[in-house]
Symmetry: C2
Subunit: 356 residues, 2 copies
């Protein structure tokens, strides 16, 4: 497929998932209205927070499904939507845990409800807690409806149970990763590289890559060996993707990434880059800047310089490349067809293309 076709397929899949989600939110909004306008408004806020993304996880489900010969696109779009709702639940609750009130440049659920309260004259700390309280409720709604979305897919019997099991494992594992992340932020000693990789794999990579790919393969009726091979691909490409994401958070071009290249440094985010750098003597000269909310562009440049000097950037890039290569190797499994490799070659290429 040429690039034009790739974009067309990707947009078609996104559109199909959008339609499923719109129908779900329409139904929920209608149900909610019977319980009062504030509840209906909460559902609208939740829908807004579940929109505007690239439907990354649903597209993984559908890519696996279609490349393995699946033809019930509507069922696949429902399974994809289930992962999108799981993603929404996890980020809404993650924002509560991180006390974030903004996502993608606009207010998230906590932010929307905080702002409503401050506008009504409620003092900021109380308004913030109100925002977080509503976000706890909203995340709960998205979470259990992720499971219900599989029931809406029309898939039944053993197959439905297997899909529920995969979504269950994704959520179970993500909670373990979130717990590690919470614990990292309270530790006095910085986590090691392997600990960061493990945390990111559990918290994000599994539910974003491994689980959606396995779900798509299971839905397509693929043999266990093919399901496992795609799962291995997902695990490796997911780790590679997270490391690249951390690299872009520090070295990325703001025009391309759409987020400030100061954010991760101001936040003092635990990444592979940092885990590598903190063990080097050169780090001492910038350690006090890292994590400072007042960090300037010049400070950021100094930290970037040290991350180059210590070889931390090169190290992270090599680790991302190694994982992307191992992901590609997983696709060579005899159980997978050339169609599967054609489908995921651009995914591997795009991860590698984002590394220098």
């Amino acid at each position: 497929m040429d690039t034009h076709d790739l974009v067309a397929v990707s947009e078609r899949r996104q559109h199909q998932v959008d339609r499923v989600l719109r129908s779900f939110f329409d139904d929920s909004h209608y149900r909610a209205k019977a319980l009062g306008n504030p509840y209906a408004a909460l559902w609208q806020t939740l829908e807004r927070n579940a929109s505007g993304g690239k439907r990354f996880r649903p597209r993984m489900v559908m890519a696996a499904y279609e490349s393995l010969g699946g033809t019930d696109i509507d069922a696949a779009a429902h399974i994809g939507a289930a992962f999108e709702l799981l993603h929404t639940a996890l980020i809404v609750h993650d924002d509560v845990i991180d006390r974030d009130f903004v996502r993608r440049g606009g207010p998230n659920v906590s932010g929307s409800y905080r702002d409503l309260a401050t506008t009504a004259g409620i003092p900021l700390p109380i308004a913030e807690h109100r925002g977080m309280s509503v976000a706890v409720i909203a995340g709960d709604l998205a979470l259990f409806n992720a499971f219900r979305m599989i029931d809406r897919s029309g898939v039944d019997g053993v197959l439905r149970t297997r899909l529920h099991d995969i979504l269950d494992e994704a959520m179970f594992v993500s909670a373990a990763g979130e717990l590690l992340d919470v614990d990292f932020s309270l530790r006095s000693d910085p986590p090691a590289v392997e600990e960061i990789v493990e945390m990111e794999r559990l918290k994000t990579a599994e539910y974003s890559f491994e689980a959606p790919l396995k779900a798509g393969a299971v839905l397509a009726g693929a043999a266990d060996q093919a399901v496992e091979a795609l799962g291995r691909f997902g695990r490796r490409i997911g780790i590679a993707y997270q490391i690249v994401d951390d690299l872009l958070g520090v070295f990325g071009d703001e025009n391309e990434t759409g987020k400030t290249a100061l954010g991760d440094l101001r936040e003092g985010k635990s990444t592979v880059l940092l885990a590598h750098a903190v063990t080097r003597p050169e780090w001492a000269s910038v350690a006090s800047l890292f994590g400072s909310p007042d960090l300037t562009a010049a400070d950021a440049e100094r930290i970037r310089g040290v991350l180059e000097e210590t070889g931390s950037r090169r190290f992270a890039e090599a680790l991302a490349r190694e994982n992307a290569n191992r992901a590609w190797e997983a696709l060579a499994d005899e159980s997978l067809t050339p169609e599967v490799r054609d489908e995921f070659r651009p995914v591997v290429a795009s991860v590698l293309g984002r590394v220098r």
Copy 2:
């Protein structure tokens, strides 16, 4: 059945649900261990928080099921356990919203993790946020596993979907009630009696009475008319129960209720009692005491005196009685057997017995 038999049946049901939950937590703990000891410890904390209760909601499921002729006690215990996990999820997240760190006299999930952090020398505000963060994660785990517990029941096909739908509705409605409760706490004008009753019905009564009773009836294969009649019973007895609970929170004997009779007054809890009293001129003399964290036993006595004077206590008692009576009338439906009335007569009697 005499009282001795009633207690024996109730204990047997509680024991059966305990066994199902223990097996679920054993499995989860085993799975969690593979992802690290801290995650396994979180599952132990969650299990502790899901234990020690009277398994009230499961017993409602089983009472409906058995009185309608159901004989697969293990399946009923699983559906009951699903409601117990939903209850656990809701109280763990409700405690986050209310910033409570204690439940039933011991630390809740937030409290356990806050205490671990303070013991490790972490300052209180950060430790509290850590406790709340872990509680967000723990509540999520209980919530999606409530749905999975129905899958573990062995029930399949249309029946499983109907049970999922009932649990879904219970959660959907409870979220609406929680949102109302959050909004009440920020309003300048106190909510009216009907608003309080509606909030308590949505937030607690539906998932505690109406939904478990309907689930038990559906599982027993009861006709739609019987399911609806038991649902109506559940709605009314649930409202009555909540009002009695509010009355006991102010007028109850601490030795009987097991909780301090100052708690609700210190917290300034929105109840039917309060909604009635605030519209009366006599209330002005105690308005400033209500909701004061420093409220003394003498202050509480003054407030109780005013609640008697204004007729608020009599009003709430009459409202509870009226709802309990309407609950009893719902059981007269021709679709329900004498066995059902025998099963639930003591439930009505115990609610009425707690009103003067």
